[in-house]
Each structure stands twice: as C-alpha cells, then as structure tokens.
C-alpha cells in the first residue's frame, strides 16, 4: 500500500498469529517469561546486540521510585542511513510490536509503554493509533489484560523531531522528558534510572516483534535459526546498486555473497554494512558473515556498484555525522568536522600520507573518547573506506592540474 510499498520476501512474522505470544506469556510467571526470552539468546536488533533477557532481568530487579511505574519504551527512531525495516514492521506487523511491548511490560512489571516514533514517519501515526485503539477494545491493553489481576498496561505514541542521536537510548529518554536529545552518562543505565528516573527498558521495534514470535513458538524454535552466538532470523534493509532493493529476512550468519545473490547485486564493488556508523566491506571480503561475532548490524545494507566513487560515499557519511552530532562532547563535535575537512583535502588531491595517518589517529581518539555510540562509531565508515580504497583515494588530480 502506498507509500509503504517496499518490496519484501515472505517473512517468518507472516506465520505468527497475533495474540498467541501474549496468550502464552500470560500463562507463565514473570520470571519464566524472562527465562524464555533469555533462553532464546535474542540480542537487540537495533544494532548494539545487547542480550534482551539480561536487560529485562535487570529492569525486573530494579526498584520503582516514589510509587510511579516502570516503563517500556519502543525505540522507533529508525534513523541509521539505509534502514527502513522498522517502517515495514510498523506498517504491516504493528500488532506483533505492541504485543512484544505488552509481554515486556508483564515481565518487568511496567504499567506504561511509549513508542517513540521518528518525526520522519509521522504519516504512520494514524495507522498506529488505530491499531492501539483496536487493541484497547479487544482487551489487550488497559486494565486486567487477559483477565490477569494486577496487570494493567497502556501504550502512548510520542513523536521525535528529526534528530538521529535520539536513537541512542539515553538521548531518546532525554527527548521524552522534554530536553535536548543529548546522551547521558552511563551508568546509571536506563534499566535502573530511565524515563522520569524510573527503571526503563528501551527495545528496538524488531526486538519486540521477535519477542512476540519467541513466546508464540518457543526459544528452541528461535534458536534453530542463525549461529550459536547470533541466534534467530533478522530483517535487512537493502538499498543502493542492486536489482531488487527492499526488506529481506535472513538467518544471522548469512554471508555478504549470499545476500547479494538474492538482491541481484553481483557486480558490487563494496557493501556498507550497518549504515553510516557501520563498516564498508570490499568485494574481497564478501565471504564475511553478518552476525554479532563477525560484522554486526542493525540491518542496513547499502550496495555500491562498480562505478561508484568511494570517496564521495565517505563524504556523504561524514556530512551526515557533522549534521547529526549533538555537539555535547568535543571528540565527536570537532572530530567529525575535522574528518570531513580531511575528505575535502583528499578530494582536491592535497592530502599527504602523513596527514592521512594523523586523521586515522584522530579516528581512534574519537572511538575511545566520545561520550556515546554516535561519536564512537562515526569514524568506522571513514576508516574502512580509506583503508580498503587507499589506492582510489590518494593523489587525485583536480581540474587545475
């Protein structure tokens, strides 16, 4: 349906009957729900890969302060360049996502859920509100859900306002509290001190949909997909120079080659895995696996065809980070601008190898010293492109020569 006509292959989520996961969860004790999620080895699908069961356990054990409530926050601030699988999930599988939130609420004892929807997806708002209304009428939200005493839970939608950094969970919470989206120091972690200082679980859209699937079909079933250290299946948003861009599902551990065959990108020169904050994999390394133990990703795959100028690609990523850095810490604020400046030097063919080495050292400083994941990962694309395509990048002739 317009404008959500992303091409996609059939997904495992099509086989999950909405409601079965929640029904199964309500028959279990809270500890057993968390046990099932932990046994599935599900790791955060936003890209960081934190074990979901561990996160829930910490939040379940944390104490509520001053008689308020714990919170479940669904992170729908999908802003990583090249990622759009959450848009597809929210369009076609919103019930599974809300069900995952409800299961999480039951598990940790939360009374309130918030879906933080990125401002760019404002056109999804009406659809999501309708799904929530239907769930309220069907008794899946509100008081005594599923007839369980003392289990009341409801979900509110809050909008983002065009800030990539708000995908970082503490920046997201700052934004919810009415502040600039500047990441907090961690610890304390949100599972202990989150939204309004209460224990808060922040999970990605896809993680929550997977939770509903795991409760419906069991941890063993989920673990039958993927590798030992990266259990389950995952959605990939594939764009760039390929015949069939769209949303695809693969078990974790899939190789870049397998993925490219499926989307018709066989002549690719390089593939960006994990978006702007991910790494650029050259053709020689297409045998690498997409999994937490090799190349981890939130699902963004951008294919670069044979004719693409990799310096132009690196420049686009750095412009993105200069724009999206919140400016709070110096390594990120100044570092990204310096790297972009370096790329402009490379463009005009006026960058010495010694200066390029200094820029690489700056990358390391940024990775070590930045406050949050944005600055820690923003040099990744620069480094992997410069290291793999040094031959293409150095000594460019300008019009003046």
């Amino acid at each position: 349906m317009w404008p959500f006509d992303s091409k996609r292959t059939p997904l495992t989520y099509d086989t999950i009957e909405p409601g079965t996961g929640l029904a199964a969860a309500l028959k279990l004790s809270r500890a057993d729900i968390i046990g099932e999620v932990a046994a599935s080895n599900l790791r955060g699908r936003g890209g960081a890969g934190f074990p979901t069961g561990t996160k829930w356990n910490l939040a379940a054990a944390a104490r509520v302060k001053d008689g308020f409530s714990k919170y479940i926050v669904c992170n729908a601030d999908e802003g990583e360049p090249g990622t759009f699988k959450d848009r597809v999930l929210l369009t076609d599988y919103a019930d599974l996502v809300f069900e995952g939130m409800t299961i999480a609420a039951r598990a940790i004892g939360a009374k309130k859920g918030i879906l933080y929807l990125r401002g760019e997806y404002v056109y999804l708002r009406r659809h999501l509100d309708e799904v929530l209304d239907k769930r309220r009428k069907a008794g899946f939200l509100g008081e005594k859900i599923g007839g369980v005493e003392n289990f009341s839970f409801d979900i509110e939608i809050r909008m983002g306002a065009g800030a990539y950094v708000c995908g970082e969970e503490t920046a997201l919470i700052e934004s919810l509290e009415g502040h600039r989206g500047e990441p907090r120091n961690r610890p304390p972690f949100p599972v202990d001190t989150g939204f309004l200082k209460q224990p808060t679980v922040v999970n990605n859209v896809e993680t929550l949909a997977s939770v509903a699937a795991i409760l419906a079909k069991g941890a063993t079933w989920f673990k039958s997909f993927g590798t030992e250290r990266s259990a389950g299946f995952k959605l990939f948003s594939i764009s760039g120079d390929c015949d069939h861009p769209g949303v695809y599902e693969f078990p974790l551990g899939v190789t870049v080659t397998e993925l490219l065959e499926k989307v018709g990108g066989r002549n690719a020169k390089a593939v960006q895995i994990g978006g702007a904050s991910g790494i650029c994999v050259p053709a020689a390394d297409f045998g690498r696996k997409i999994a937490f133990e090799d190349v981890a990703t939130g699902g963004s795959i951008i294919v670069f065809g044979p004719g693409r100028d990799m310096l132009h690609v690196a420049k686009n990523f750095m412009e993105f980070f200069v724009e999206e850095s919140c400016g709070q810490c110096t390594p990120c604020r100044a570092g990204n601008a310096k790297l972009l400046d370096g790329i402009e030097k490379l463009e005009t063919g006026s960058c010495s190898t010694a200066y390029l080495r200094e820029l690489k050292a700056l990358c390391e400083t940024m990775q070590l010293a930045s406050k949050c994941g944005l600055g820690q990962s923003s040099p990744n694309a620069f480094l992997s492109i410069v290291n793999n395509f040094q031959d293409e990048i150095l000594g460019r002739a300008t019009a003046a020569h």
Binding site: P81, S175, I238, N316
Partner: protein, 170 residues
C-alpha cells in the same frame, strides 16, 4: 503581532499544556503541535510555553533549536525536505535538488518571499529502497524524478487562495 492574536495564541498554548500535562515531559508534544499549526515556534510562543510549564524560556529555546523539525524563525507553510543521505544520493538526488531550486526560485535553507515554501535538506528519511525521497510537511514522495518536481510543487500551490489563512497540512 496584534494583541488579539497574542491572546489567541496564549489561549491555544494554555489548552495544549492542559491537554499534555503541566510538566517538562509535555514540552515536546506542545512544541510539535505549535510547529504543525504555525510552521514555526515564535519567540512569543516560546515565552508563553515556558511560563505555562514553569521553566526558563532559554530552556525552551534550547530545545527548539536542537531539533531539525522545530524552528524558531518563520518558515514556509510547506516545508519541502529532500533526503540527502547516501541511498537517495546514489539514486540521483542531486538533479531533483537542482530542479526544486529552479521551481521555487530559492536555495536550500531558504524560504520563498511569499512565505509559502521552505526548502531544506533532510537526513535519511527511511525510504532508501525507493529514493530519491521527499517529505512535504507530513506527506512522503518516493522515486522522485526531476520532471515530477513541478507537479508536486503545483499541487501544494493549489491549497493557497481562499484558504490561505488556514493552517496547511498536506
């Protein structure tokens, strides 16, 4: 701004704060609604919001200037945002950008002198498989080609006329 207009805005903000709660966590939804209605959040509006929520106006200013979708300077009724990130770039955003500038007679970051259109870059709109992507207020356009730009802008222009004084949401 006329005194009567100020009073009207003040009442609107009071109603919004009453609806979302008289606390700091209500700040974003209140500002977002003002942005939607007026295409920007004026200095006067920021002062009133601060008074109503009980925080310093500098705090409100800090928030408004942080987010790309909130503005304190006047913006056009239609905010045209073209995705500048990599996938849309590979799909040919540069020519769409050029044609947008040609049709509107302004550069990126500017507003037309009649106050109808603002042209801005956006970071990844999440339409990477269907680029180049364009967001006009709350409506998204995908696979935009340079020759479609005129029609997209023209459709927006039709909204003006007798109803020009009304807030516009495409």
């Amino acid at each position: 701004m006329l005194v009567s207009q100020q009073q009207k805005l003040q009442e609107e903000i009071r109603a919004l704060v009453a609806q979302h709660g008289k606390n700091r966590a209500a700040l974003m939804p209140v500002l977002q609604e003002l942005q939607r209605r007026y295409a920007s959040v004026s200095d006067f509006a920021m002062q009133v919001v601060a008074d109503e929520i009980g925080i310093h106006p500098a705090e409100v200013y800090g928030v408004v200037t942080f987010y790309a979708f909130l503005h304190h300077e006047p913006k056009g009724r239609f905010q045209v945002r073209l995705c500048q990130t990599i996938s849309c770039d590979l799909a040919g955003k540069a020519r769409v950008a050029r044609q947008l500038e040609n049709e509107l007679g302004i550069r990126f970051g500017e507003t037309t002198s009649d106050g109808r259109f603002s042209l801005e870059w956006a970071s990844c709109l999440g339409m990477c498989d269907q680029g180049p992507a364009l967001l006009v207020n709350e409506r998204v356009y995908t696979r935009v080609t340079p020759d479609q730009v005129h029609q997209i802008i023209d459709d927006c222009r039709k909204v003006f006329g007798a109803h020009a004084a009304q807030p516009v949401h495409a």
